[in-house]
Symmetry: C2
Subunit: 256 residues, 2 copies
Amino acid sequence: MSLAKVAAILRRLARDQHDLAVGELAEAMNWPKSSASRLLKDMHQHGLLERDYGTRRYRPSLLMLQLAARYRSAEPLVEAADKALAELTRRTGQATGISVLDEQDVVVLRSRAGSQPLRVVTPPGDRGPAWATSTGRVLLARLTDEEIARRFRKFPRRPGVGGPASLEALMQRIQRIRAAGWEEAANEAMTGLGGVSVAVEDAQNGDAFALYFAFSSLHVHKQQRRELARHLREAADALARRFNAQPAATLGRAYG
Amino acid sequence: MSLAKVAAILRRLARDQHDLAVGELAEAMNWPKSSASRLLKDMHQHGLLERDYGTRRYRPSLLMLQLAARYRSAEPLVEAADKALAELTRRTGQATGISVLDEQDVVVLRSRAGSQPLRVVTPPGDRGPAWATSTGRVLLARLTDEEIARRFRKFPRRPGVGGPASLEALMQRIQRIRAAGWEEAANEAMTGLGGVSVAVEDAQNGDAFALYFAFSSLHVHKQQRRELARHLREAADALARRFNAQPAATLGRAYG
DNA sequence: AACTTGGTTCCATTATTTGGGACACCGCAT
DNA sequence: ATGCGGTGTCCCAAATAATGGAACCAAGTT
């Protein structure tokens, strides 16, 4: 068994299918049925997959839930940021969360639903286009121009996704973010989906993550968005003071 | 690379350590350093782990977050139950969630925090002793006596964990649950932690999961617990009608 | 400079994986 | 009852990959 095959199966379950049949996998991957059958069985026996005995299909095991639960859960800055965001959800009623960059995408680490009648749902693990989200762009803004150009040399095209349509347009947007220290998006990753975000950087490991509000873009007006952004900036500044982290505002100045 | 070693690493990250150093792993698993080093590196290169380049430690990758997010997310009954529980949290202010059995443990699949001042946090992936929680016992109650005896032949002992202390005591408790159709726990898995639960069974695959409220046992009194249980029973009955699922009440009669 | 600690790489040796083919099982049509 | 098609399992000779000891590297400490 090569690790490449195990990883390919897990990626397929993460991105394309909720579960897998033996023949489906063999066909999708162009593997012999015997190889697919044995590998799925072995992964099941070792606890990476579980099997529905009615449908005979395989899916990720509870082990993945536990691994996900522990993802960066021991990091004080992440925990404190999460707590601060929970408090912001309580005060404002809007959904909040933490996201990180992953190449051209942005992935939710932590989130909670708001209490508005129209709910925005962004569960942990949820992935979206970084160039078309406020969280993605606020994180891209702290990369060098070279690194951004490397990631978006071939600018992605996704049906139904708005936002900047070229590297040039993205770079212009990023200049504004560096100056402003926060970002907003409306109807870009998805029609009706709005968000405001700031970035926080862990001074210890250089990693950054975004703090965000997510809401229905039809129901949150400009002044409200500014106020939500202010809440995030204050939360980010409080974290920066407490953890010697680096919020976006100083990033803006650094790129002067 | 054997799958057994990959699984052992992932289990260790799920249960014991948030991250791993090469030497630590070699020592903990009694493997040669070269084996540990190359295996961690290979898992990193194939996207199962990521590496903090400051500390050089390995931790699960974002892939696990995505796998977890998709865990049973395509099942209409699970999705509907989750939605119903979100509504119950809104109405009552108490934390709710869904849990499943895993041998002697119970694992949270979905959850949300309540809005009470004293927050109970049970994130997805959270694992607890099935014999000492309302969710665990309500799920054990739908197993056969033989199966329960098999799992608890050697009754577990965990410091700080209350609840039934023998198979006999557990079986007595389970008889009561089968009759009542719901269960409660207070100060068993953990001092101060209270819960009420009902089980729901998916008629299609026979799997069951528990719907629960979790709360501070000091602040939720007997009458309130009964009322929370009633909410859960009503939610479970509505799901049963809609999905032809089998709530615990009929299970109680089945064992009559 | 020498030592310690953590980690990496190489390669001869050892172990495991692979996939074709035979087979089992089940549902469906005749 | 029989045959067919689809899904999946198992075996084993052949092919491929993993393994771990030893040497080495880098960084920090003495």
